[in-house]
Symmetry: C2
Subunit: 310 residues, 2 copies
Amino acid sequence: MAEFRAAAPDQAELLGELLEAGLLIASGVPGIYGRGETFEEVRRAVDDLVTRTAAPDAAEQLRFPPVLPRHQLETVGYLKSFPHLAGTIFSFEGGEDEALEQQERADRHEDWSQFQHMTDLVLVPAACYPVYPAIASRGPLPEGGKFVDAGGAYCFRHEPSGDPARLQMFHQRELVRIGEPDAVASWRDSWRDRALTLLGRLGLDVASDVASDPFFGRSGKLLARSQRAQSLKFEVSVQIAGPEPTAVASFNYHEEHFGEAFGLELFDGRVAHTACLGFGLERIVIALFRTHGLLVEEWPAEVRTELWGS
Amino acid sequence: MAEFRAAAPDQAELLGELLEAGLLIASGVPGIYGRGETFEEVRRAVDDLVTRTAAPDAAEQLRFPPVLPRHQLETVGYLKSFPHLAGTIFSFEGGEDEALEQQERADRHEDWSQFQHMTDLVLVPAACYPVYPAIASRGPLPEGGKFVDAGGAYCFRHEPSGDPARLQMFHQRELVRIGEPDAVASWRDSWRDRALTLLGRLGLDVASDVASDPFFGRSGKLLARSQRAQSLKFEVSVQIAGPEPTAVASFNYHEEHFGEAFGLELFDGRVAHTACLGFGLERIVIALFRTHGLLVEEWPAEVRTELWGS
């Protein structure tokens, strides 16, 4: 089992408040929660706000399930960077005897893993992953490339934690840009400003900075340094609970990584560059409750107007 | 690997049309598809139609992620009935050496399952499953019980198929009733009528009948017979493609099964009964495209009005 990250005292207190108010619903596994009615209302409102902000750019709406072909995860090299975070899907293989033994062990809550075998599916680790092969399958991109809105999709990261802002299964609201290097870079810069404005108008005290991914192991430290040195990742962070601010949105410039992996080709035959912007919807919702209090009807009028109109 | 069910010729043709029109997007794994813009518009409209139909009954809105504690799957005995359909989540355990070997095998698309170990999570097999422990944790039910709208949640069934109406990952739009036996039975009967009306007004040629679940193995045949004899399951079916109609909605009366498993207690101390109604959203959407054609703007005006208002 992955190591459980204990909550800081104020994170534990916040989780207790969210559960007590029925905003989150405990499942028995840390980082896996149900969502109450009000939590979902706020989450949907933030989701819609991103949709409205992106609408003038006429992004194509595509939606994907929370599972992905294992072959794609292998192709993009996810297991080099984040072996500790991936979730793979196993299922039963066997006849009636094996099924019976499996069931009897499961009834006693004992180990029945030996009857489970790897399938050709894994959990989606980031909402943009299915977008690249889907767009690549259409052939060379038109001039100017492509802007895809992948919606608010459930993603999985195997990192059980007592911090309510670090979920194992969460909605990543993802926008994806695929195209010429210049177009992709300027898209990322303009959306960093838009994201800061969007979150700032919700009354969140946001700051953006160069960041790095939580790469695995010793070689991961090098990857992280290189990522920072090239400014390939930016995060927008808010102080929620715990000793440090929490990232609530993240911009990743992948250069040719996905283009090469999936054969994304520009109109002129070059490999396409890609970038994505992911809003962590549950983190934003929790930041709103932390900042403005647990009663939505008492939130500042201007924040309510941003979310639900006047 | 689970056995692949080949498509009937008209199912293969339908899948080809849906892919060609961009309504579904191939992933490379049968039963796993992305959804295009128009497909999602219809799916959301059907989802909203169910919400509007349920609204007068003031159901409590709860939402759950597509993963569930493994302990709950064990507790409800899912592996007795459907070992072949369950998906379990595994993840990496090991140090840098194991990670490196795993990655090298994955790069070559070879078997890396030995580095993966069972976690405490499984995929949600039916959208109602997380509802029962969540409601049970609140203590005894109020008189009259409880009506929960669990929304349109992603569910997993490991049954790869060439039939576009048999997905491995799909949205089940689930309503759940928990309470006294009489109240639950009459809820189910009234909703069977409402579901037939709702789907009929969408221009679908629906019929409802007693049905049984696809229980595993020889003993499963007995379970299925008993389920039919007691009329515990009804399905609403539509002819989509293939030799038989496809179930697009399903009513299950669980009697005391979930109540006993999770300690759901009535106001008077008796074990609560439960029933659920699940709409298969993708199946309904595909039935609509099959019945009315691939161009939504050419659908009958009365169907469009039902879905999107006048």
